[in-house]
């Protein structure tokens, strides 16, 4: 029975990982930027939720648009006026730049919100659905549902709208995309904006299930990184699959082998995927190709 509970926990956790990973994966797949500031941007969303909850009593779930929109704009500006300047430079330069942004954001948050651990605890926190021996906290269930919903919406957006198709086209072949009138700089900026907005939403949801502080940015980025590798770059379904695999692997290895070995196992699986199928489980060739 306990194994069922553990598996369920893994799947629920996986939904969150999918959401944090999908933006990261999209940016990497489309613009070839490994955004080391992704986790820090997510934490900004967590602080927005905390701020609204503490000072205005806004329900954490209702604050999602308030973390999406500002971070969408923030991401757009960041890409358009900063990252675009060096997007054609070597990958190393981009890593340094995004790492710099991460350091800046983490210190910014430390200055304004202090390094203390915070958590958002609405009245209904701790309420759970109980089926026999299985306990499913409502909040985790809701977080999972929202994560899945948003990932599906993103998939629809990419496949059905002009902008979405333009994003996919740009990631496929930047020159051909330009030939049909797509402005890559703009597409890059929109992609980055979407990714940042989604990271913000993920952060808001994160604040509901766990305690957070600015120091957590790095480990969130790492999770996003692993999800992208597992699922394949730039693919929404990949992120969903990668997220759920990561969630299950983490909880199962924690249960079977021990919490302390969890990260080692996760990284081992990532290496395994890279060796066997370097494009990720659902990745197709073009998404992972270096385009410069």
């Amino acid at each position: 029975m306990i194994i069922l509970q553990v598996l369920l926990n893994g799947i629920l956790l996986g939904g969150f990982y999918a959401l944090i990973g999908v933006g990261f994966s999209l940016v990497w797949g489309v613009t070839n930027i490994i955004n080391l500031a992704h986790g820090a941007i997510a934490l900004l969303g967590a602080y927005i939720t905390l701020f609204l909850f503490q000072y205005y009593g806004v329900d954490p779930f209702l604050s999602l648009p308030f973390s999406f929109i500002p971070l969408f704009i923030f991401g757009y500006i960041l890409q358009r006026y900063l990252l675009n300047l060096v997007v054609k430079a070597q990958i190393f330069m981009l890593l340094i730049l995004t790492f710099g942004i991460e350091i800046f954001l983490v210190n910014f948050m430390t200055t304004f919100f202090s390094a203390d651990f915070r958590s958002v605890t609405p009245d209904y926190a701790g309420e759970s659905l109980i089926i026999g021996d299985i306990v499913i906290p409502y909040i985790r269930l809701a977080v999972f549902a929202i994560c899945i919903l948003i990932t599906l919406l993103l998939s629809l957006f990419l496949n059905k709208t002009w902008t979405g198709k333009a994003i996919k086209a740009t990631s496929l072949d930047i020159d051909a995309a330009m030939m049909v009138g797509i402005n890559p700089a703009k597409i890059f900026a929109i992609t980055f904006a979407i990714a940042s907005g989604l990271a913000g939403v993920a952060g808001s949801l994160f604040s509901l299930t766990q305690a957070f502080s600015p120091s957590m940015a790095g480990s969130l980025t790492l999770r996003a990184f692993i999800v992208s590798i597992l699922g394949g770059l730039g693919r929404v379904e990949g992120a969903l699959l990668g997220g759920i695999i990561l969630g299950i692997v983490e909880t199962l290895s924690s249960y079977i082998i021990g919490e302390s070995y969890k990260n080692a196992i996760t990284l081992a699986i990532m290496v395994l995927v890279l060796v066997i199928k370097p494009t990720g489980i659902l990745g197709k060739k073009y998404f992972a190709e270096v385009k410069h």
Binding site: V6, R118, S119, A125, V135, T209, A211, S213, E259
Partner: protein, 400 residues
Amino acid sequence: MKRLSFMMGVFLLSFFLISVSFAADVIKFGAAISLTGKLAKEGNLVKNGYELWKETVNKKGGIKIGNRYYKVEIKYYDDESDPNRAAKLVEKLITEDGIKLILGPYGSESVFSTSAITEKYGALMVQGGAGADKLYTRGFKNLFGIYTVATEYMDDTLKMLRNKTPKPNTVAIVYSNDLFSTQVAQGARASAQKYGYKVVYYKDYPKGTQDLSTVIVEIKAKNPDILIGCGHFQDTVVIVKQSKDYKLNPKAIAFSVGPTLPDFVTALKGDAEYIFGSAQWTPTLKYKDPVFGSNENFVKAFKAKFGVEPNYHAAGGAAAAVIFQRAIEKAGTFTDINKIRQALASFNEETLFGKIRFDATGKVVDKGMPVIQIQRGQQKTVYPENAAEAKPVYPKPAWR
């Protein structure tokens, strides 16, 4: 011209005499401590403890040796929270400034590195800022520490709980895999066995973990009466939140670190209620003190000087200095390190920090750890009984 040089001569001579007499009437202590860097908060609190002690002693005339009173001076260096730098600065204190009475820095790493230097030069250190067991396993003779060490952290909590009704029988111990928490957990397991509990769960998790739901689910399956968490502040928050999520309802939850910090209640609000924590010291302890008169007076004096209630960092600093002073007075010398060391080795006095005795390794023994419990958002001392502000609430009500 002659007159001027005569005047200057007199002036210089008197200045010389004054400074000689000053030098003779002063006992100099030295401390390399974290005034900046990541341990700045704690370092400055320890320093505040030293400063309050110095002021109080000097107001009374100073340290009495024979029939003479000596004023106290403390020379500080900022170790910038770097143990290597702390060691260099203590070397400087001893070799350049000629100070052999060293007040400890804050943090086990810094005490570890600096005590090696005091040992090397035959200087003496009394410290109230570090609790790692490994400090006392190196055969040092010149280091004395007043923090209860890691392996004894949870002993009093388990002792307090053993006679409660309904009687708790089983204990789950979960700990962060860093050195300090591992030692706390090992000690907790030993104490649990000593008091006749059955340890039904004993596992570690990686330092800085964010999700412990699997661990919580596993512990829940064992249905322990007592849950002991040995980790850091963040872990305690995660454990409490997720225990609530998964309806893990032991009769008592106790943490080694966490509930003693004000942030604990800020982060958890109502969920922090009735959780136990171990403290090196609490403001309500009813001990006498040779310098401040009593622990209560120390708390009052600290509040008057710094405007805030002292915590155990500040109390540890003040208490270490008090013990140093008493040892010097007993030894009747402040230059003969050997005699002062002997006075420390045979030390047995009540101070604001507790009844202090050292074993052969310089580690404090039988001091105990007061237990606090969060009640209505406040930290209340609930053990030992003679210092208790409130009765411990047991069993802990189930999560709402």
